[in-house]
Amino acid sequence: MVPKPYGGMWMSNQTQQRDKMAKEALLGIIERFYDQFEHQKVPNIVMPTRTKSNIEYNNDSEVWVYGDSTSTRSAKTVKGANQILKMSYVVELLIKEHLENNRGSTLRELYYISENWDIAKFNEQPESDRMIEDLEIISALQREYFHMRPEEDGATLFGSLKLKETTKRGERIIHCRDDVGEGGYQIPFNVENVEFLDHDAKFIIAIETGGMHARLIENGFDEEFNAIQVHLKGQPARSTRRMLKRLNEELNIPVVVFTDGDPWSYRIFASVAYGAIKSAHMSEFMATPAAKFIGVQPSDIVDYDLSTDKLTEQDIKALRSELTDPRFDSDYWKTQIQLQLDIGKKAEQQAFAGKGLDFVTQRYLPERLTEMGII
């Protein structure tokens, strides 16, 4: 790959191609509006309907995607006209500021930038957030292609993985255990800027809580079992999910998800494995259908006699709703959720500490990994 200086910044060929692709896609949207004017048609745009009822399971990609139902936004109504106007302004920003000047902004910044747009300004941030999602759907490109940055820091990764990251200041080759501190390697917001070079991992373990992530690092779990640890930080960010998917599919390494044993954590697993309803248009980029749930399982609470808390009313409601959620429609989940409802208990990952600090790395995880046929 031949590095090329670009706009005062350093850009790789690949980055340039991606920007070009994004610019063409965005220009296409504007050209369509222009053509509609020229052909005496009221400007409009057809989009998939973004409601729960229009989410369906795609058997080929094994993720949840939008269905066939579409809705048309037309300048015949004030609402539709405003959306088209705002879309034109956002696209102009993305092309002229982001892509042509190699800059980027966050969703929050976009909302504030729009304050200068007079009647095209967004009334609240969810409106501008939705606009970016709309553009993702129309262009079939992720927002990272438009240089839209997430607000929060990406999660971290730790383990024997060597990669090359293209940064604004040049290419960096990093080993995610030997070249980083205990904090680990920070996953960049645009995972497409990462190229995997080498690894000796047998599996990837995605961990919900920082406490457990640190416990595994301290206990040397990654070295002992050739694991790459990814810290999910609760509901995982887009970049984290994209990273997991790429690791799984490009390097062919199995992914296991390790969370607390409560209904909210099962949803974290579901969004890693099957995609979230809110971003169903991105499921094919971000969901890892091969990911497996390692625990904490309700049956572990019984088998390992873990310290527990009582299920709250909300917990019970959430569990019941999962029983009818198509994403949990398997014998495994039905048995586990029913068991949890029967015992009325939930447990945190940290509950293993009650059995000794090494219990989770010496006993629980090895037993589960063996059971799952991963080691």
């Binding site: 050209e31 222009y34 004017f37 005496q40 009221v42 400007p43 300048a75 004030v78 006209a81 696209v91």
Partner: protein, 623 residues
Amino acid sequence: MAHPIAEELAKKQRAISIAEFFEKNRQILGFDSAPRSLLTAVKEGVDNSLDACEEAGILPDIMVSIENAGGENLGLIIEDNGPGIVKEQIPKTFAKLLYGSRFHAIKQSRGQQGIGISAAVLYSQLTTGRPTRIISKIDRDKPANYYELIINTSTNDPEILDEKEVDWDRTRGTRVELEMKASYVKGRRQSVLEYLKSTAIVNTHARFTLVEPDGNTIVFERAVDTIPEPAQEILPHPEGIELGTLIKMLRYTDRQKLAPFLRYSFSRIGLHTAEEICKAAHLDTESDPHNLQLEDAKKLIDVFKKVKVSAPPTDCLSPITESLIYKGLEKEYSVDFIATISRAASVHSGHPFLVEAGVAYGGSLGKEDRVNILRFANRVPLLYQQGGCAITHAIENIRWKNYSLNQPGGSIPAGPAVFMVHVASTHIPFTSESKDAVADVPEIMAEVELALKDVGRKLKTFLSKQQHLSKRREKEEIIKKILPRIAEKVSQVLDKPTPDITPIVAKVMGNLLVQRSVSKNGDGYQVEIDIRNYGDATFAIKLHDTHQYSVRDAQPEPKIISMGRDTDHTWKLNLKAGDKETIKYHLPFVSEEEANALPGMIVEGVDEGLVNGAKAVRGYVDE
């Protein structure tokens, strides 16, 4: 000689009768709970005051004051500017149950409801042991009379505890002061405040002042200063007469013969009909009505039902009228729209009645709530048993979706609206003695439904007009503000000339679009004019294309009028919704510059704002 034992017993029986009668009938009399007792006492007092003022031709000014009197007791003062009560009548009016003449009169009156103010006096003395204090003054120059009264519960006669002449700084009027076990409630339909508000709506000529226990004063101001026409008294109609009443009439009549008795005691019975009735009942026309037996009376009632007697006169009813209902609703609610209807009178089982209705919509009324229903019988608000009332049932029978209102569960509709229904009659059929709900009499329900549908239609028209206006406003916002900005922005991004949005404006607005294009053709230019109707109505227009060039091979042929230097080419066109017409002609010997600088066209027969691409003039176009 000792009194016979039976007489003693009878006395005892009477001694308990009035208090016991009250205890047994508290619910019917309206004194079954602390909040309701207060409301009933207020109602009795206010009804009396309104009736008295109306009869005397005085604009009522009524004050209701409620104060805490310690413990569970409240003090209630009702004061009016009415004609006052003559001294001798005061004790009986307030301290004798069932005293008064209105029970015998056949006319539309408030007093059909409730047992009278004396019931409140009795309730007051039973719960607090205190007498009722009355001041009444009948003339500016006369002193006022002051009384402290209780009812003797054994004889049902007034007992005067104090009586004197006092100075009172009013010109005339009556003031009643009671103390009773009661409670003052707010925030619900069955409250003094809501009762007065409703009463103010149907009595727009009256001013009401409410002083609440915390000293807060609320004034319901009058909206008009004319007193409603008093209702006329009429003779009973045979169809609606009850056996008991007939027996009483027979016994107390001054007539000595049956036929004249029938003729002059009932409405709609003439000489011929009276004879026909006697014959059908096998009774002598000459017989003395006082001597008729129960069996004879029964026979008469049967015959009344069979003989054809024309319907009773209906001019005895006193409607509130459409304009006063409008004013009443207008002054008590801040709304966007009001419609009212006063229907013609009709008859239910011999009793004339009429129905009036009003709807108030929008403004500050709750959008999500059920519609607020105000029920009135002879100008008196009905506050209890809404669910059991013919008025409510009639509302539920109507499919309000047809009138642009939601109707969740098919019952009372929802939306920012108040429904007001007034039933006026010489005899209101109530569901029970407590007189809280009108019975489901088919004739009345049919009239209520018709009245509500009438105001419902007016409401629907208003709402669809509103909707049309807001749609038009919305469209204007699109074409004036948003569309030009989109056109500007997309051309900026693409670095292209700003597109012409005229055709799209026509489409969005549902207008007529006129477009002219020119293209080089042989020795000159070919002109094409497209006229397209994007609206949903037919446009009958004349299109004027006026310029200095001569036209060749025009299709269709225009009418040509020379106008000095210029020539007016006119086409008469009739375009239905969605139609498109094309006019073509050739301009020989014209340069490109000239062809592109043709003056603007004029469309005649259309309002400005309905055409894009040409100037509109109203003019006249025959079809």
